[in-house]
């Protein structure tokens, strides 16, 4: 059981990572399109048209696709003022409650998003913009991201419950524990330290 779930989570991690890279690439592309559009408009009095609309869709889609990656990196912020002072076992219980709440909220979101997509599909709804984008395309990709988020949340929930049932509190913490502020800060510091080069005049 544990082994199968671990394999499932590894798969979830791969998929989430690729979804995040894809979403990120989409945002970088959006930056270029919007940037080029501004320059064309300024210097050639010519606009691509719809760059703002399309980058809005890119934003919705890439954000939704990054939700599960954010979950797996334990980066959905939690208030740990009380949590930080509780014994391990209670923290583990709260970790599961956190996943349950997230699963509930995420499934409501994914449900209503998909319902909206279905309506757009049925009525062949188009955006009221010059592009007249068929809305089912961006809404469908967005809903897929939300559904991926729900599935990964449920898989993680299941794995965490199994860990708690087996008394493996360390695993619960590693899978779903709230990140401490020290962990957050250490990440920031690591990035900065990694890229740092001391200016020549300061060496020696």
């Amino acid at each position: 059981m544990t082994r199968a779930l671990d394999a499932l989570l590894r798969l979830a991690d791969r998929v989430s990572l690729w979804a995040t890279w894809g979403g990120g690439a989409l945002m970088l592309a959006a930056a270029f399109v919007v940037g080029v559009d501004v320059l064309l408009r300024k210097f050639f009095l010519f606009s691509l048209g719809g760059a703002d609309e399309l980058s809005g869709y890119a934003f919705a889609i890439s954000t939704a696709w990054a939700l599960s990656f954010t979950l797996l990196r334990r980066a959905h912020v939690r208030v740990d003022a009380l949590y930080g002072h509780l014994p391990q076992r209670m923290r583990a219980a709260l970790d599961i409650a956190a996943l349950l709440a997230l699963a509930l909220f995420a499934s409501m979101l994914a449900w209503h998003a998909s319902a909206m997509w279905a309506t757009s599909w049925d009525f062949a709804a188009r955006a009221t913009t010059p592009l007249q984008t068929p809305l089912w395309i961006p809404q469908g990709l967005w809903s897929l991201g939300l559904i991926l988020f729900v599935l990964v949340t449920l898989a993680l929930l299941l794995r965490t419950v199994v860990a708690l049932a087996g008394g493996d509190l360390a695993a619960v913490r590693a899978l779903a524990g709230a990140r401490t502020i020290e962990e957050d800060a250490a990440d920031e510091a690591a990035i900065a330290a990694e890229v740092r080069t001391t200016p020549e005049s300061l060496r020696g």
Partner: protein, 427 residues
């Protein structure tokens, strides 16, 4: 109803549910308790329209910009220039820290990134040149917070979107308070170092030729500032478009400095998307909660309740300041803003506070939250840049600057023009 909602919110947050889920679940609970209409049917529409909002597109753009600049190698050279220009003042390199933070802040919308970037360059110099370590650390943690007051600023964008305030006006309103706060920080250092000459370490003398020559290292930050802030006032870009141009320009800089690679881009994208997804899920939760709150009449009840307290404008402002100082001890600052601003800001506007001015007040309060324990993120960032030592050193070293921030707040209350004069010139 008011008390129930408030207690539920405290309970859900105290249980350490993810903030986004806590807000969403609270919305669902309130709907069950107080509404006969199926309000959650609107959830899809609320989530979709906020998720594709072009104004909000600036959030991932600024996060991307920050992540790229952090890795582009702009800061080191710029810090070197600041040493040449500022280290003659009593307090030496500590002034260079604050100056470098202020300049980096003009390219970065994040306080944490500013503290991390300048801190990593500056920290190796503490011991070598014999500075008082605590105060030196304080200048980095506090200087870093300027990142969100001097435009561009992610926090200002979020405030603007939540309150329907103009981003260009907020940016302009942040410039003088940002410079004034930087000057106030430097004054604090100078006064302390005149009182205690042992605190200021060795100065690194430079002649005018070296100073002039070092100015070239200020060009890259100036270039980014002109693009992400200047282009808005030159009238050819909206804040989001300016941020997108900034992303492209910073990629160009990173390429120019030989720092652009696929591995670097992958890191940039992973970090930026993680932060964006975190923030956006909270925004969606908050929008849904606000929708439920106004549909069941809770927002109106809250406004009536506060009006019934009969507080004067100044008393109300003091109450809000105390509220944020306390809340800042428990919550991460972005989630704190998204959770509270939609509720607090309308009440303040109704009392007659200027939305732009109030935005600057909020940003300074957030800055204070970033360097006060127990969850001041900048304290921890600076601490983890050091090799060992106690977090206490950073906390104590930052205290004088927390005081400086409250002096700044008092000045803003007495002279609102410091924030409002510049935006008025442009409108």
């Amino acid at each position: 109803m008011l008390a129930v909602a408030f207690l539920l919110l405290i309970l859900l947050l105290a249980l350490a549910l993810p903030v986004a889920a806590a807000l969403g679940v609270l919305g669902l609970l309130l709907e069950q308790l107080y509404s006969r209409m199926p309000l959650s049917l609107a959830m899809g529409e609320i989530a979709w329209s906020s998720s594709k909002d072009f104004l909000l597109v600036s959030i991932p753009m600024f996060i991307l910009l920050g992540e790229i600049l952090l890795r582009a190698g702009v800061a080191e050279r710029m810090y070197d220039a600041m040493i040449k220009w500022l280290s003659w003042i009593p307090g030496g390199l500590m002034h260079s820290n604050i100056g470098a933070c202020a300049i980096f802040a003009a390219t970065s919308g994040s306080s944490v990134a500013t503290a991390a970037t300048v801190g990593t360059v500056a920290l190796p110099l503490v011991k070598r040149h014999g500075y008082n370590e605590r105060l030196f650390l304080g200048t980095l943690a506090a200087g870093g917070t300027l990142g969100i007051l001097i435009p561009p600023s992610i926090n200002m964008i979020i405030y603007a979107v939540l309150t329907d305030t103009s981003i260009p006006k907020l940016y302009l309103a942040g410039i003088f308070p940002g410079l004034a706060l930087a000057a106030l920080f430097m004054l604090t250092v100078a006064v302390l170092c005149i009182l205690r000459p042992g605190w200021g370490g060795r100065k690194l003398p430079a002649d005018w030729g070296q100073r002039i020559a070092s100015l070239i290292h200020l060009l890259p930050p100036l270039f980014i500032f002109l693009i992400v802030v200047g282009s808005i006032y030159a009238g050819f870009a909206t804040p989001t478009e300016a941020a997108a141009l900034g992303v492209v320009a910073s990629l160009g800089l990173a390429w120019g400095f030989g720092r652009l690679s696929l591995a670097m881009l992958r890191e940039v994208v992973e970090n930026a998307m993680r932060t964006t997804a975190m923030v956006m899920l909270i925004i969606v939760g908050a929008y849904f909660l606000n929708f439920v709150m106004s549909a069941i009449g809770l927002t109106a009840a809250l406004t009536t309740f506060i009006a019934g307290l009969g507080l004067s404008k100044l008393e109300m402002l003091l109450a809000v300041i105390v509220f944020y100082v306390i809340l800042g001890c428990f919550m991460e600052t972005l989630s704190m803003m998204i959770t509270t601003i939609p509720i607090v800001a309308p009440v303040m506007f109704q009392l007659g506070f200027d939305p732009v001015w109030f935005g600057i007040v909020i940003v300074i309060l957030i800055e204070a939250a970033l360097i006060t324990p127990p969850v001041g993120l900048n304290l921890f960032v600076v601490q983890s840049l050091r090799k060992g030592g106690s977090l206490n050193d950073v906390i104590v070293g930052s205290l004088p600057f927390v005081l400086a921030m409250f002096v700044m707040l008092a000045v803003l209350v007495a002279f609102p023009g410091i924030a409002l004069w510049l935006p008025a010139q442009f409108s």
